[in-house]
């Protein structure tokens, strides 16, 4: 928390348009990713949130607009240069068979290595640190496929951490995990941001997003509907716009983070009738 916060944004998306199989999926996206902050992108399935993340990760070429990393255009960087500045963890990643945890995490140092610089003291330090930060040091010798889903996800996180990039992009890092491991992974990610990294997460779980995001970005149909602090933007209106669901938004007793409680169908009908009556009474 004591790190000096740099006010330069880590990544800036300007007027970004993107197509998927010639169909436009992102329209005029503008976004600033701040260092030391967790930015969470939420939205219904097919809203373009993963494509946006892929555009930021240099995996999907935008049809229009720019993605800037500091002073540089992301697409002007060579792949290895880009990989030293941003790391991506795709959704449900698969490892080559037979790889050990240590072996996987060592691959995170690839962008910092060369043909004749295959393992520096810096690589060693970064890998050891990444293993510690995700509490998988004791598993380093184990084959990855023997581990549970939660442990495996921590190992993947360790791999992208070992990359030691100022920007981390994570696509649904908790989608395969139970509640305990979800909270564990998200807490670890929060600690990374607290240490000064910029983190962007794509999540489909609005509740977790509202709780863990410094900046919440809500997307639908390839556009950003709202962005800002969760408690400012998460309203029943936003939930309806995003998911076409009636919901109550409560404040969590602990920290006041918004909690979204969908309304069951019959209750929604009754409430709709109420609203109609109210409207009728007070036009």
């Amino acid at each position: 928390m004591s790190n000096v916060m740099n006010n330069e944004p880590a990544l800036v998306v300007q007027d970004l348009h993107a197509c998927h199989q010639k169909m436009p999926v992102l329209h005029a996206i503008n976004l600033r990713i701040e260092p030391g902050k967790v930015t969470v992108i939420v939205g219904p399935n097919g809203c373009g949130k993963s494509t946006l993340l892929r555009c930021m990760a240099r995996l999907h070429k935008p049809s229009q607009g720019t993605v800037r990393l500091g002073a540089d255009d992301l697409w002007q960087l060579r792949p290895q240069q880009a990989a030293r500045r941003l790391a991506l963890l795709p959704q449900a990643p698969q490892a080559p068979e037979g790889i050990s945890v240590g072996g996987l995490v060592r691959y995170g140092r690839h962008p910092h290595q060369g043909l004749l610089q295959q393992w520096s003291a810096e690589d060693e330090r970064a890998v050891r640190h990444a293993l510690q930060a995700t509490a998988v040091t004791a598993l380093a010798e184990r084959p990855l496929e023997q581990l549970s889903g939660g442990q495996r996800q921590r190992c993947w996180l360790a791999m992208v951490l070992a990359q030691e990039t100022p920007l981390l992009l994570l696509d649904e890092p908790t989608s395969m995990l139970d509640l305990g491991h979800q909270v564990d992974v998200l807490n670890r990610i929060r600690r990374l941001a607290a240490a000064g990294r910029a983190v962007v997460i794509v999540l489909h779980d609005l509740m977790a997003a509202a709780r863990y995001a410094d900046t919440l970005v809500a997307m639908r149909n390839g556009r950003i509907l709202a962005s800002g602090a969760a408690r400012d933007i998460v309203t029943p209106e936003l939930v309806r716009q995003l998911y076409e669901v009636e919901a109550d938004v409560l404040a969590a007793p602990g920290d006041g983070a918004p909690v979204v409680v969908p309304v069951a169908a019959h209750a929604a009908l009754a409430r709709g009738a109420d609203a109609a009556r109210v409207l009728h009474a007070h036009p």
Partner: protein
């Protein structure tokens, strides 16, 4: 964020400890460092030893058997002129050609398998063998004397087939899978063209092409070894220096790109190197089946840990071809069996074993 570990780091020697498996060896000199698995190094050394032994046996074996003493004296430039001629002018060149062709095939197979992440993928599936055969056939029927064209006809045919394949497939596809499927169709088309044209030729041409298309090292001279040696001299170091990048191809493409892999460059380089290597081998020796399939697989078993074993694959390929050729020369007393036949004989059971052992692994 490094605060908690900094004091511990001062105590750590430069030799990796915590994040390293036991089997890895680090060599460091100033800012240069090499990291490799000890088992790979031992495997390569062991294979070199085996290869030397196989070459020695191949030099001694045949219709006239030599004793080790005789071989040594011939190699020292002594001994009967007849033996000198036999060893240095007949046996050594064909063994050299076989060794180089095997290495090229093993390496090419390893590259194609890494590219497609498919253990059953070989250069032949891309039409390399059938393209080369067609190329050789065209020179054969256009020559009145029923002679084969120069050595570069085969590689040229292979390259032509793959260019045709790339045009037909449009692009590499995400994993080169598209190439394999289109390649399968294209190579049967090429084979059909060859066979159709062959059926309209005289028997002399047909039997000459048959002798070539079965794959044989018979009568190969030092001149035949030269293009193979040159190709390997360029492509082997190039390929070995891209080992680290090829290893990343074992990941999903998103992860590989995220780790800074120049994806297209790596894929194209692997494809082109594999086609040239396999094309050279096929052009010089005719199509030799199964080496490109078996060598990478055996090498991976030897090296372990799911590593990309390029050097070992090349060595295993060389060993397989030298071994199979020697077997072909001594198995029947009357006539020699072409190496293509031996490889087919050994390859069928091998493929079966491969498929069964893979399935057992899935079950367990």
């Amino acid at each position: 964020m490094n605060a908690p570990s900094s004091s511990a780091e001062k105590l750590q020697p430069l030799v990796p400890a915590a994040s390293m498996e036991v089997g890895l060896q680090l060599l460091r000199c100033g800012r240069f460092s090499l990291l490799f698995a000890r088992r790979s190094a031992w495997a390569s050394l062991g294979l070199c030893g085996l290869l030397a032994a196989a070459v020695a046996v191949a030099l001694m074996a045949g219709s006239t058997w030599l004793s080790p003493q005789q071989l040594l004296s011939v190699l020292r430039g002594q001994g009967a002129p007849g033996l000198q001629l036999l060893v240095l002018e007949f046996r050594l060149p064909r063994i050299l050609v076989g060794l180089l062709a095997g290495a090229a095939l093993g390496l090419a197979g390893c590259l194609i398998q890494a590219l497609t992440r498919n253990r059953l993928a070989t250069p032949d599936l891309l039409g390399v063998a059938d393209g080369a055969t067609l190329g050789v056939f065209v020179t054969l029927i256009s020559s009145t004397a029923g002679m084969f064209g120069p050595w570069w006809v085969g590689p040229l045919g292979a390259l032509g087939a793959v260019v045709l394949l790339l045009i037909a497939a449009g692009n590499l596809g995400r994993r080169g899978q598209r190439l394999l499927i289109v390649g399968l169709a294209l190579s049967s088309l090429l084979r059909a063209v060859t066979e159709l044209a062959l059926s309209r030729q005289e028997l002399m041409h047909a039997s000459a092409l048959y002798a070539w298309s079965i794959g044989s090292l018979n009568g190969r001279s030092y001149a035949a070894a030269a293009p193979l040696a040159a190709g390997l001299l360029i492509l082997l170091p190039l390929t070995l220096s891209s080992t680290r990048r090829l290893a990343l191809l074992r990941f999903e493409l998103e992860i590989a790109s995220g780790l800074g892999l120049p994806l297209r460059t790596t894929q194209w380089q692997a494809l082109l190197s594999a086609v040239l290597l396999a094309g050279l081998a096929v052009g010089v020796c005719g199509p030799i089946a199964f080496v490109a399939l078996a060598a990478p697989f055996i090498a991976e078993r030897l090296v372990g840990g799911g590593r990309i074993a390029l050097l070992s694959a090349a060595l295993v390929g060389a060993l397989l071809v030298v071994f199979a050729d020697t077997l072909g020369r001594i198995l029947l007393a009357a006539a020699e069996l072409p190496i293509g036949v031996i490889c087919n004989l050994l390859g069928g059971p091998f493929l079966l074993w491969l498929l069964l052992s893979e399935r057992n692994k899935e079950i367990s």
